[in-house]
Subunit: 404 residues, 2 copies
């Protein structure tokens, strides 16, 4: 018996120019273009197996072992329907291939990072879903073409369809056909760009980004200025910085745009706060770390950015990562051991190394253990990968292996 | 022997439309107009005695018992010189009055609120200095004319030269002669407007407002839009709200402008944060308190505003103050007793009263004792008062009584 299935993994991406606001909430068309770095799926990924089978009664989906409802007209249903439609066109154009577009599908997805880490999983999740169905259906679509589908699942998912440095062009057409992701540069162009994710504890349930961004669109007096005047110039400038591997320029724009995203959240009615006192303290550390470096060498060493939550993501050239991890581990003692995937601390303990000369140690107060839950060290990565059947998340019975 | 002296007190003011940015740092000319409520100096005030005497060797000033240097060309020297100059003109026009403009002055000033409360004292302090010297010199100047001098001591001081609701018009002239305070309405127009100051603990030394506002002018991509488009409309709208005693409109604009002021601080490079997690929690309480009220009656009950620090000021009609104090005292247990100047809690304890019906008590977590240091209940107040000589802060020897 032939099994029609494919498994794919897709990466997380973290924006340098932030997406905040939709001009069309159904098609998920943004008010401004955005740009992100794709992170290495060796460390953080969503993996999805999709199978089409004539015995399946209806489309079903499991996420991290729990079945999720595929609501009619919802985002999942929209993506699945669009991919089936593209398969149908392929079948019409190639009469010799199997007709599977009319089979129901079972989809099983898993994130290798805990939800409690506070990392948005919708981008990697929808990217893996689209990549696995595209592989199952052997669609001839390019990553940019697939990004049009992923975008309708979760806006930022479109940027996880490729590796390296990825722009989501907002587009101008009403049907959204030009609102897609394009690769500015592949990971191989600037493999030295690393990232540290600082997982910050938070007691408060934040505003969801879906609800928050539309509140900002409706009430912020500053957002239109950002959309019309600030972001277009920054998109051009940061693309140039990436092409030139100019970390100073990249870092400056990345920090400016993180600040401005949180500024328009604060300018919302009622105001939205995603950063907390720990997030602010990490900014103060990075500002001081850069101040000392600029005074000594004229160059920035790190760039912080914050999404719709308290976690920091710090981009930096690989050589600076040990200093950065040491600084954060010193001020934010953790109750879990740093996993150290790049073996930076074989003979030392993060937090116990000397600080850069001239660093003002009073800039932040040392926090109690647990204010930062953990550190994840990763780097720029590649786009979705199609995996072998040995990685399948579905058993021969068409149900998740994890539930067997 | 004749003693030439006068004592005056001046009030604190808290802006609803925020002053943030100078177009001329020497003359203290702002980038945008602002508007404040003058608070009652029965509760919070600066008191200043000024004396002119032929035996004094040089101008001297004591603030809260400590002598401060009057730097040549500095803000204090500028204000004193301008007032002496105006006295000289009076002397030239009225040959029969005593010539005292050439005497050195001793100035003694005292704030009745502790510096640790984190309330800016420069506004009330410079207003009291200008008012006391103007009384000493018997200047025929109007409060608006005196506000031109106080402005050069500390920008927001110009708004403490009158009571009630006061606009500081930014002006357009290069010499600053039209950048002055005007009264929108006296306290008697809307005496029902009360205020609660929530004094929030802070470990972090914040950016001074003088330095911070110019960093924003130099680096924020959003500030110009605020200055040119947002503030002018809000100045008109809030003046109308005050004239109509429309608390809903007043509250909405006040909260919007507090949010936007902190938003442009965040949009600064490096970002400036004045609010901390406790400030944010107080916002969440007021937002929920208003939500419940709007659902029940269609009306807002309170408006928060934050200056360049973590303290909240909550404006509300007098009738709502017990509920507001109860809410804050419940979530932020204090280690000092509420002084209760209006005798609201004669039979109850703040923090132990029932909440408004429908209030979501989970919106904020109860803080540990001391996160809020204290509450000050006050209301809209009058402008500077000239006091009798029995209130003098200077002894017969011309030195502060407090040092005797």
């Amino acid at each position: 018996m032939l099994i029609y299935q494919a498994t794919a993994s897709a990466p997380v991406n973290i924006a340098c120019i932030k997406y905040w606001g939709k001009r069309d909430t159904k098609l998920i068309l943004p008010t401004n273009s955005s740009l992100s770095v794709t992170l290495d799926q060796d460390h953080l990924r969503s993996t999805t197996t999709s199978r089409a089978d004539p015995t399946f009664k209806k489309d079903r989906l499991w996420l991290n072992g729990t079945e999720e409802e595929i609501k009619a007209g919802g985002r999942l249903a929209t993506c699945i329907a669009e991919l089936k439609k593209q398969r149908r066109q392929v079948e019409e154009n190639h009469p010799n291939i199997p007709i599977i577009s009319n089979y129901a599908v079972h989809i099983c997805s898993h994130n290798n990072f805990p939800t409690a880490a506070g990392l948005a999983s919708s981008a990697s999740g929808f990217a893996a879903l689209v990549a696995s169905l595209a592989a199952l259906y052997k669609l001839p679509a390019t990553p940019s073409e697939l990004s049009l589908i992923a975008r309708q699942g979760s806006g930022s998912a479109c940027r996880s369809l490729m590796g390296g440095f990825v722009a989501w062009e907002k587009g101008v057409r009403e049907d959204g056909s030009d609102s897609l992701a394009i690769q500015i540069a592949p990971r191989e162009h600037w493999p030295d760009l690393h990232a540290v994710i600082v997982v910050v504890s938070d007691h408060k349930k934040g505003t969801s980004s879906t609800a928050g961004m539309q509140q900002t669109v409706e009430t912020s007096a500053l957002l239109q200025h950002r959309i019309n005047h600030v972001v277009p110039a920054r998109m051009t400038a940061i693309s140039e910085a990436i092409k030139a591997k100019d970390f100073d320029k990249f870092a400056k724009i990345t920090m400016q745009d993180s600040n401005q995203f949180h500024a328009v959240c604060l300018d919302t009615e009622p105001p939205i706060f995603y950063m907390n006192d720990v997030s602010r303290a990490i900014i103060a550390l990075i500002v001081e770390y850069n101040r000392v470096s600029v005074a000594a060498t004229g160059h920035l060493k790190a760039a912080y950015t914050y999404d719709a939550g308290p976690n920091a993501v710090i981009y930096a050239p690989a050589a600076n990562i040990p200093e950065i991890i040491n600084l954060i581990a010193h001020y934010f003692p953790q109750n879990q051991t740093f996993s150290d995937p790049f073996k930076l601390f074989t003979n030392q303990v993060p937090g116990k190394l000397p600080f850069p000369e001239g660093f003002n140690t009073q800039v932040v107060k040392k926090a109690e253990e647990g204010a930062v839950k953990g550190l994840i060290h990763t780097r720029v990565g590649d786009g979705p990968r199609v995996l072998s059947d040995s990685e399948s998340l579905l058993g021969t019975n068409g149900l998740p292996i994890s539930l067997a």
